[in-house]
Symmetry: C2
Subunit: 529 residues, 2 copies
């Protein structure tokens, strides 16, 4: 029996934050805005929704793998962004999928695509449904919609301990990968906030960013080969450690967001489970001193597994809002060798930029204690707060981008100022914005902005969208990417269109026409038909 | 005044091997085959060629940047493979380009493409002309051919020392990049055998492999953004340290081998010039012991800059053919920190697999002395030997592929046995084959095979092609890639067609139709029109 996910928000139906988590958080925000408390909208219940009648009938042969019940359709109507939960709390689900297919194998996927073709239905590939960019959301303009969830194709099929790789089905959730590897010396370690409820196929389709802050930041580097089912048939790329034979076929599908085919299987690179670890939290007087240290560390070729720079007020509980210090969560991992030389040099670099390690710096498990530990816990629990923010009309969201180091400070200042002004303009109050680096490169960081404010509950969705859209537009106007690892979906389309060369969009359209000539797959994502 | 390249072989017209280099080499091969000496065909002279009359007239406006003289056309007729030199020594150049354009800027490139479109000429993008895969060779089936050489677009336009990157024109030769960076703290260090006479744009178009044996093996990882002139206009990708916004636009052009457009400019990632270095040559009892050590080193996350495993008889002068020991040329580089810990651990791993460092192991400059030094010198001079082998009917060529570690031994044995048998079958004598690793990954090595034999000069080209083609076909039939870093061109097409998924070829064709609707650009490379 599969555990039921919460249809209206992040996580499973049988889990939630505790009162001990919600209470202090709620009181702190109320205090910040000088209000006595919040009107709390109760979470939606399934019975409150009357969904549009399905606009297609399921052929007998497909009935065993297709569902049309209300809960299933509700669950597959939205992703997990703040604007998704907001619409759920408004009880607004005008465009649910007409059916949700759960193929058991590639032949099933092909049969479902044939059915979509026959009846003129849009097909939406669905991984874990953790999209925060409307990547899997049926649109009002679609006549009929079949969402194709690969969650039943969730096995690790083969483990190659010599080459350190595994052949894994696309529909597997993150934890199931590591479970399946439990008795092997290997691990994938592609962790991210959505790890528990997102899939390998989804990671590949959306170019997810994971655990590693340097080197193997995106799923791109894990992929050794792929199997993809398209409306024109199934393709498999060759399993190779490296190749120079033409443009990489894998790279055309990595990031294709379901518009070219469904990723049913991949060989992915693994590594041995780390047995050596060196971890430290390093405190900097401000974010920019920390940024300089991070730049020096990445350019030094030290390749820490973790190198996340955080504003203390965002990461460390009890930090005053006026405290502008920053914390670098730094860790090296290895299954091969002690990491003293690596950490020693990284801390020397930190010291050059006025970074001082916390007392726990040389403890083996400091990543589970101190500032790093507090942050780690917060990171894992954070997605659960979204529905409680939405229920209270609290603005709380994020956007992520990247920028080269030469323009980073100016860019950071401009985006921060813009966001503050925009929140003030839209909500009539001061808001908050903090920044962290989730991934770093020798040529620049991924900037991950978190912003907050207080919304007018009568205009909650409109205000939310206005702030988020304007800030994203601003990052793109100033040269950033519209998304570093959240994907484009339907939300980012207007900004993506400004970022990517028009001729590339045309080339991608040309490629799609060959693989999906009728445009069944996820229309409107990345390109227009 | 630009230095004139040799039209019929590698290098410049005013350089050659010395008699001291040729003598011992020639005698050693003669002795190996029990012959007294070689009939030496003299190198071709320009005057010996009567080229087909150009089939198009150059419009007045383009005359300043287009040449049709014999030497220019000869120089651009072939690449630099053994089969190219062989045809030159046969004085066979039936299909020279009708004209060679040397645009000074992107507007010129666009004007030349418009001209090709207007007169129905094929346009062949040309970098340094070092192709060994018929990548830039006009075909008999082409009605008219304009080769477009970017060699006049050869400047470093901008250096960003903060982000460690530079904006560089596509037509620049390798050494000119480092020359332009001489006064900066930065270096590109993308060295390969063709370095002196190949271009940045050519590297990107062909997915070249360079100096770094791990991590940054291919040019792919250096590219931050691109400018590409296509028949439909010019596109520029955004300069970003990392992005997850759709399939990477850069990756569609990296490896596109001139079929989508001309790469006129790129931002590439650089790094600080190394000031710390730890180098060693490690001797293993055989190649497979060395391979096990290399696998362990790459999987340990040590990331040596050099990690090339060589058969001693190929790399170390004076080694008997019966000596099956192997040498690992190992080096770490850094501009930031001493590398003792790195090298110490790598040598421990080598010792686990019976690898013993040469005496010079801990000398700073051991890469210029001992086995590593001998190899380095041979590596740089090797391309010059090709014409002298051709002049004597000596078979001497290479092919490179990659394979995952789990299948590497079996694959190596099969390809080696196949090549030996094929040389015997085709030439009637025993030949030689050796293998080295030029680049290594946690999941497998790049295997670089060098083979030799003695050809019948009356059937020299036919025999050469039969051996090379059969061996390449065999590597692909056994699951390898047809090319790890030499590109596909026209030579590898039949093998590439077996390797890449048919649906990917269709997608690529769809993309090309959008950017090059009339199919002007390099027809027959990678895909059919």
């Amino acid at each position: 029996m599969r555990r039921q996910k919460k249809f209206y928000a992040w996580g499973y139906a049988d889990e939630d934050l505790t009162a001990d988590e919600i209470g202090p958080w709620e009181r702190e925000i109320a205090a910040r805005y000088g209000i006595s408390g919040f009107e709390v909208t109760p979470p939606p219940r399934e019975e409150e929704f009357t969904l549009r009648k399905p606009r297609l009938d399921v052929p007998t042969a497909l009935q065993p793998i297709v569902r049309q019940d209300r809960l299933t359709r509700l669950e597959h109507s939205y992703g997990k962004a703040g604007f998704d939960a907001t619409r759920m709390f408004l009880r607004e689900v005008p465009n649910p999928p007409d059916a949700v297919a759960f193929p058991e194998n590639e032949a099933d996927v092909a049969r479902v695509l044939e059915w979509c073709d026959r009846v003129g239905a849009v097909a939406i590939p669905y991984g874990g449904g953790s999209s925060v960019v409307k990547g899997i959301e049926p649109q009002a303009t679609f006549d009929k919609v079949v969402t194709i969830s690969l969650r039943h194709m969730d096995r690790v099929l083969e483990v190659d301990t010599v080459s350190e790789a595994a052949r894994i089905q696309g529909g597997i959730y993150g934890p199931a990968i590591e479970d399946a590897l439990r008795d092997s010396p290997l691990t994938m370690r592609h962790y991210m906030q959505a790890y528990r409820c997102s899939t390998l196929g989804g990671w590949i389709a959306t170019r997810s960013g994971g655990h590693y802050a340097t080197l193997y930041t995106h799923i791109d580097d894990f992929v050794e080969s792929l199997r993809v089912v398209t409306p024109q048939g199934t393709l498999e790329t060759r399993r190779l450690p490296g190749s120079g034979a033409g443009p990489s076929p894998d790279r055309m599908f990595i990031g294709s967001e379901g518009i070219l085919g469904l990723i049913t299987e991949a060989w992915v690179r693994l590594r041995k489970k780390p047995t050596f670890r060196a971890a430290a939290s390093v405190r900097f007087p401000d974010f920019f001193a920390g940024a300089d240290a991070v730049r020096a560390i990445t350019q030094a070729g030290l390749y820490p597994a973790n190198c996340r720079l955080l504003e203390a007020r965002e990461a460390v509980p009890g930090t005053a809002w006026s405290d502008t210090s920053a914390v670098l969560v730094l860790a090296f991992e290895s299954a091969d060798h002690p990491l003293d030389a690596w950490m020693k040099r990284a801390l020397e670099i930190c010291a050059d930029y006025r970074g001082r390690p916390d007392a726990s710096a040389d403890e083996e498990n400091s990543h589970r204690s101190g500032a790093a530990g507090a942050w780690r816990n917060k990171f894992i629990r954070a997605p659960h707060y979204s529905e409680h923010a939405v229920a209270r009309g609290i603005l709380s969201s994020t956007f992520e981008t990247s920028m080269t180091w030469d323009r980073f400070r100016e860019f950071h200042a401009a985006v921060t100022a813009f966001t503050q002004a925009k929140i003030r303009e839209v909500t009539g109050r001061e808001g908050s914005i903090t920044c962290r680096f989730t991934h770093v490169y020798p040529d620049g960081p991924c900037l991950y902005f978190t912003f907050g404010g207080l919304l007018d509950k009568r205009r909650q969705l409109e205000q939310f969208m206005e702030v988020l859209s304007s800030c994203t537009a601003e990052t793109v106007a100033r040269g950033g990417t519209t998304t570093h690892h959240h994907a484009v979906g339907r939300f980012h389309r207007p900004f993506y269109d400004k970022q990517r060369p028009e001729l590339f969009a045309r080339a991608l359209r040309g490629a799609k026409r060959e693989l999906d000539p009728k445009g069944l797959l996820n229309p409107g994502v990345l390109i227009d038909p």
